[in-house]
Every structure is written in structure tokens, then in C-alpha cells.
């Protein structure tokens, strides 16, 4: 049998062009594009050269040859999907999103093509209500152990007693600050917005995401992160419009700007905070002392998923603590699963970015379902962006 140089590559030329076209359409981010086309190639070639490929556990064709997943930026160990592909022959296509609204919009429009996606806790009841996700068949997920889950974080995976989603990890929403540039200690959302308009002017970023951008502006005044009260939202809008001319950008993909030094201050999720701090120690992750968001991301299967068999296989694979632990080490977000925590290295468990002190955790709020569909918050965000 002839051996082509292409044999070890996870991407054929045609697949590369597919990825490029998806990239152009905006379905995937630049990071993902580089990941699947560059990094993925390098790691897979290395693995096959070293003879690390395990024998597939599934019969050829049983699971189809591809599956598409919708998730968040910088959220997975790329090796996880490469390993899954070598195990099963199913290529994993990763779509990266910046907000839950965007995921919902794609599913509402129909034919998203995803077999698995990663919604945040407060959206699951709405997906269920709109009949967009399946109830999960636990018998197909032997690696999932409900008893090992920390119920504080995982309760919203069940809607009316039906399991619709299983947890990926939990985390918080704070801000990242480059302390080499902004030396004055910051501890609150008040500090965040005030600094954005003074010493951090032109260097600060907020998410392109209504829940956190509006929610943290509400915290500036001490209101609830989830407020729907018109007068409180009006105050938040006033603050956001005042800060907008000082912003570097409105974007949920803030790691590149923080790493290049273009931005010094940004709203930030736990996992990005941990990754930035790990690579650039001068970047600190701060939780606003007024409060803010605590969240859990889940895996769910869309009702119109084109490849449910592979979705269950991948989900079960991801629920294996030995696989999940690598995911957590790579993305830096804390786990809800006691079996995973038992395997995590001690320095990770002691990391205050991942496991903040109890007094900082106490005031945090889980996002409320109503914020996802509330027209007033959506329109406020749109006015802020188009102002």
C-alpha cells in the first residue's frame, strides 16, 4: 500500500478550504481556524509519527464521519478532539461563539448543523421551553455520574425534573487588568468603569454580550446583575454610553488584545483570566467586590442534531474524568465534578483565580433566564453598540 504524506494529516486540502470558507463566513473564529489548521496538524502528525494512535473502539461508519460542536473561545484542549477523532473516526468541527444570544439565534433559525453545544446555565430552561434541545438519555452516558456533581452548579441542567444538559465547568465573570500598566489596585466594578474613563482610557474592553456588559454596569450602582427594572437599566445605559468613547473595543475575544498590550483592562471569564495570568503574570484577574456573575456551562444536544450517535459518544468521552481533567488544565476553569477535582494538580486547586475566596463568591449571582429573551436588555445593548 502506498503511503502518502497526507495520511497522518487531520486536514485534507479540501477540508482546509472548507475551514477557510467557514472562517470567512464568520462561523468560526481566527483562533479556531489557526487551531484546526495549524496546531491541530502539528499535534496529530506528531502523535501518528510516535505511534500513539490507539485502535478505534467503534466499528467504522457506526458514528458517521463528522460532528459539529458549538462552544466558546479558548475553551477546549485541542488534543481532546484530535484524540476523539483517532478513537472513533469522527472529525470534530468546532464553531466558536461570543454570546448565548448568538447560539440561540442560530438554533431558532434552524439547521445549525450542530450535534452538541455548550449553553450557559440560565439559557437551558428557554431552550427546553422552545423545544430546541433533547432530554438526555443517561444510559448512553455511562461516564456521567450525577452523584459526583456539585449541586450548587448543576441544578439548572434539569428542567421540570428532566435532565437536559450535563455540566462542563463553572466559573465567574470578573475583569483582567495588566498591573504593569495600571498600577493602582482595583477591587470593584466601580474601579473598572472609573479606570476605563481615566488612566485606562483607550485601553479597556467590555464583552460583546448583553448579560455581562449590562450586568456589570448595573453592579457599578449596586443593582442586581440580572435587573430588568427600567430605571436601573437606564442608569446602566447612561454609564455605558459615557464609557464608550474611552473603550478600546467591544469584543468577547479579548485575549489577543490583552496579550499584545493594546488593551490593559477587560471584562473577563475565569478561564481566560487563568490563561492570561499563567502566560503573563502581570495580568491579574479581579472579582468585583459588589458581585457579578457566577456561571456553569453545560453540554446539550439540539433537537435537530444531525449526528446524535456521535454526539452521545463525544459527550460520554468528555464526561470521562481522565479526559475532563486535561480539558480543565488546558482551559483553566474549575470543575463541578468531584472525580475530576480529585485528579487535578494541587496548584490548580489552590489557584485563587479558579477558586476565589468565599467572601468574593458570596455576592455573585447566576444569570436569570429572563435576561436572555428580555427585549429591553437586547435593545439597550444594541443602542450602546450603535451609539
Amino acid at each position: 500500500m502506498s503511503k502518502s504524506y497526507r495520511d497522518g494529516l487531520p486536514l485534507s486540502a479540501r477540508e482546509f478550504i472548507d475551514q477557510l470558507l467557514r472562517f470567512r463566513r464568520g462561523s468560526i473564529s481566527r483562533r479556531h481556524f489557526l487551531g484546526v489548521t495549524g496546531l491541530g496538524v502539528a499535534t496529530a502528525v506528531l502523535a501518528s509519527e510516535l505511534g500513539l494512535r490507539p485502535t478505534p473502539a467503534y466499528a467504522a461508519g457506526e458514528l458517521g464521519d463528522r460532528l459539529s460542536i458549538a462552544t466558546w473561545p479558548n475553551y477546549h484542549d485541542p488534543q481532546t478532539f484530535v484524540d476523539f477523532t483517532t478513537n472513533t473516526g469522527v472529525a470534530v468541527e468546532v464553531n466558536v461563539f461570543g454570546s448565548n444570544e448568538e447560539m440561540l439565534a442560530k438554533l431558532q433559525a434552524g439547521a445549525s448543523g450542530w450535534s452538541l453545544f455548550v449553553p450557559t446555565n440560565y439559557t437551558i430552561s428557554t431552550y427546553r421551553q422552545l423545544d430546541l434541545i433533547d432530554a438526555l438519555d443517561v444510559s448512553k452516558l455511562p461516564n456521567y455520574d450525577a452523584a459526583a456533581q456539585n449541586k450548587r452548579f448543576t441544578a439548572e441542567g434539569e428542567v421540570n425534573g428532566v435532565l437536559c444538559a450535563v455540566p462542563k465547568n463553572w466559573g465567574t465573570t470578573g475583569f483582567a487588568v495588566n498591573t504593569a500598566k495600571l498600577t493602582k489596585p482595583m477591587t470593584s466594578w466601580k474601579d473598572f468603569f472609573d479606570t476605563s474613563m481615566t488612566t485606562g482610557s483607550g485601553r479597556s474592553m467590555v464583552h460583546d454580550y448583553q448579560l455581562t456588559t449590562i450586568g456589570n454596569a448595573l453592579k457599578y450602582y449596586g443593582y442586581s446583575f440580572n435587573s430588568l427594572k427600567p430605571d436601573e437599566l437606564a442608569k446602566a445605559e447612561e454609564l455605558l454610553l459615557k464609557v464608550k468613547p474611552h473603550l478600546f473595543a467591544i469584543s468577547s475575544d479579548y485575549q489577543p488584545a490583552m496579550r499584545s498590550g493594546d488593551a490593559w483592562l477587560t471584562m473577563c471569564w475565569t478561564n481566560d483570566g487563568a490563561q492570561l495570568h499563567r502566560d503573563i503574570p502581570a495580568i491579574d484577574y479581579v472579582l468585583g467586590k459588589e458581585g457579578g456573575e457566577i456561571w456553569t456551562d453545560f453540554y446539550a444536544i439540539p433537537k435537530d442534531a444531525p449526528n446524535k450517535a456521535a454526539a452521545y459518544a463525544l459527550l460520554n468521552y468528555l464526561m470521562d474524568p481522565k479526559v475532563a481533567v486535561k480539558e480543565h488544565i488546558a482551559n483553566g476553569a474549575p470543575s463541578t465534578d468531584a472525580r475530576v477535582n480529585a485528579l487535578l494538580p494541587k496548584d490548580l486547586l489552590d489557584n485563587p483565580i479558579l477558586y476565589p475566596a468565599a467572601d468574593l463568591l458570596a455576592p455573585l449571582e447566576f444569570g436569570a433566564a429572563a435576561t436572555l429573551t428580555d427585549p429591553a436588555r437586547a435593545e439597550l445593548m444594541a443602542r450602546f453598540k450603535s451609539a
Binding site: L104, A105, Q108, A249, P375, E379
Partner: protein
């Protein structure tokens, strides 16, 4: 079958594929958009049937985005025109014939790479580690280039310049040189020959390029997102947000209809102006 009837049949058959295509993928979707624009946002987002003009009444809520687009799109098209004309003039009238093909190829080659990739390259050139770092190195003050309207304009000119050069080049290349000689024989200076002969005869090419670039810019979304940092907001960005974030399809549809209206008005105006400037000549831009 008479020969006239056969001619009509042949014409109809030749036009049929394009007509079917346009009906399925232009007319039908546009009708759907108009129907959506008269509806209401469903409670969880999307569309629910209604018959109201409320979405159109709400258009001023995106006035800033319309304004940005209506300033930056024509400004970008004009900047392209001013830069493209000398290039096209050089290519058509001045360059040695044996070099012409190479130079035209050089203008087309960037199209072989995705605009997205080329715009990302600009993100790094204009970003903190690009030109500003170089300026700092030579002792100039810290300068912010990325995420400004200027960066968006630069990206626009860069991305759309070839689309402007080619139509102007073609109209100049077809220019009858004898007219220039006649003008000179009759005592005109090169300066007045250029303005009363060359420029006038290349007007259709200029307007074709201008309209082409302007229409594409009216719907531009990528360049403002990447080089404007989500702060320089075009109407295209407002549309993306309405469909992908707030999921207000009816309002998004109303904005889309308004945008189509604006594009049609601008094109008709451009057509009229060209026709007037180039005398009685027939001009077809659409």
C-alpha cells in the same frame, strides 16, 4: 414557426436560467423580508405574524449606524476613486505595453487571498505591536491606530481599490487616441485635453467603479468589526446584531428594506449624474 417567433423563443430560453435563479434567490427572499418587516418580534425572539409599520417607525433608533454608513461608505468610495484614477490612467495610457499585463495581474493577485485574512493582517499592522511600536522606536509619541474610523477607512480603501481600478482602466483603455491628437491639433493644452476629453470619456468607468464599491460598502460588516473593534458601527453590523444577538427579525428586516431603498436611490442618482455629465450618451450602470 416564423423567424420572429423563433427569435423570441431563443431569447426566452437564454434568459430563463438567470430569471429562475433571480426569482428564487432574490425576489422570493426579498418578499419574505418585506413580510417579516411588517411583523413583530416573538417573545423569545424571532418573528411572529402581524401587520404593523412599528418597525419602520423605529428606524431612527439606528440613526447613528445609518449615519456612519452614509458618511464612511461614500467617503471610502471617493478615496478609492481618487487613488485609483491615476493608477488606471498610468496603466491604460502611459505604461509600456509589454509591462501592462504584469501590472494588471499584480492588481488582481490580492483577490486570490480572502479579504478576511488580509484584514486580519491589517489588525496586526495597525495594532500595538505594528506601526505604533515602530513609531515609538523612532521616538514619536504613542499613537492609537487600530479601532478608529481612520483604520476602517484604510481597510476599506485597501480592500476595494482593485474593484475601482479595473472599470476605470477598461474605459481609459478603450479611449480613442485620435481624439486626444485632435484636441492637441486644435490648440488645447494637455491640461484642458485631460479635463474636457479624457476625464469625460472615462466617466462611465468611474461611475461604474464608484457604484460597485459604494453598494458593497453599504452592506460592509467585516472591516468595521475587525478594524473598528465593534465601536465603528455600520448598518451591516446593526443587521448582524439584530438577527444574531437581539433576534429581532422584524426590525432587522425593516432595516434591510430601508438599506435596499437607499442603495437604489443612490444608484439612480449616480446614473442620472453620469448621464448629465457625459452629455447625451447612453449610460448603463445598473
Amino acid at each position: 414557426m416564423s423567424s420572429a417567433a423563433r427569435k423570441r423563443l431563443v431569447t426566452a430560453l437564454l434568459l430563463a436560467p438567470a430569471a429562475v435563479w433571480l426569482f428564487l434567490f432574490l425576489v422570493l427572499p426579498f418578499i419574505a423580508i418585506v413580510v417579516f418587516s411588517l411583523g413583530e418580534r416573538a417573545p423569545a425572539g424571532g418573528y411572529q405574524p402581524a401587520l404593523t409599520l412599528a418597525q419602520y417607525a423605529n428606524l431612527p433608533a439606528r440613526a447613528a449606524a445609518f449615519w456612519n454608513t452614509l458618511v464612511l461608505a461614500p467617503a471610502g468610495a471617493l478615496a478609492c476613486l481618487l487613488i485609483a484614477y491615476p493608477v488606471a490612467y498610468y496603466l491604460a495610457l502611459k505604461v509600456l505595453p509589454q509591462r501592462r499585463l504584469l501590472l494588471v495581474a499584480l492588481i488582481i493577485i490580492p483577490f486570490w487571498t480572502s479579504l478576511l485574512i488580509r484584514t486580519y493582517a491589517w489588525m496586526y499592522i495597525l495594532g500595538g505591536r505594528g506601526i505604533p511600536a515602530f513609531l515609538e522606536l523612532v521616538g514619536l509619541p504613542d499613537l492609537r491606530l487600530i479601532n478608529t474610523p481612520g483604520a476602517v477607512l484604510l481597510g476599506i480603501v485597501y480592500g476595494y481599490l482593485p474593484l475601482m481600478i479595473l472599470p476605470i482602466y477598461i474605459s481609459l483603455e478603450r479611449l480613442d487616441r485620435r481624439l486626444l491628437e485632435a484636441s492637441a491639433d486644435l490648440g488645447a493644452t494637455p491640461f484642458s485635453t485631460f479635463f474636457s476629453v479624457t476625464l469625460r470619456l472615462s466617466l462611465p468607468g468611474m461611475m461604474t467603479g464608484f457604484s460597485l464599491v459604494l453598494i458593497l460598502l453599504l452592506g460592509e460588516y467585516l472591516i468595521p468589526t475587525l478594524l473598528g473593534g465593534g465601536k465603528v458601527f455600520f448598518i451591516g453590523n446593526a443587521l448582524v446584531d439584530l438577527f444574531l444577538q437581539s433576534r429581532n427579525w422584524p426590525f432587522g428586516s425593516a432595516i434591510a428594506v430601508a438599506l435596499v431603498g437607499i442603495a437604489v436611490v443612490l444608484l439612480l442618482a449616480a446614473n442620472r449624474i453620469t448621464a448629465r455629465l457625459s452629455g447625451a450618451r447612453q449610460v448603463d450602470l445598473l
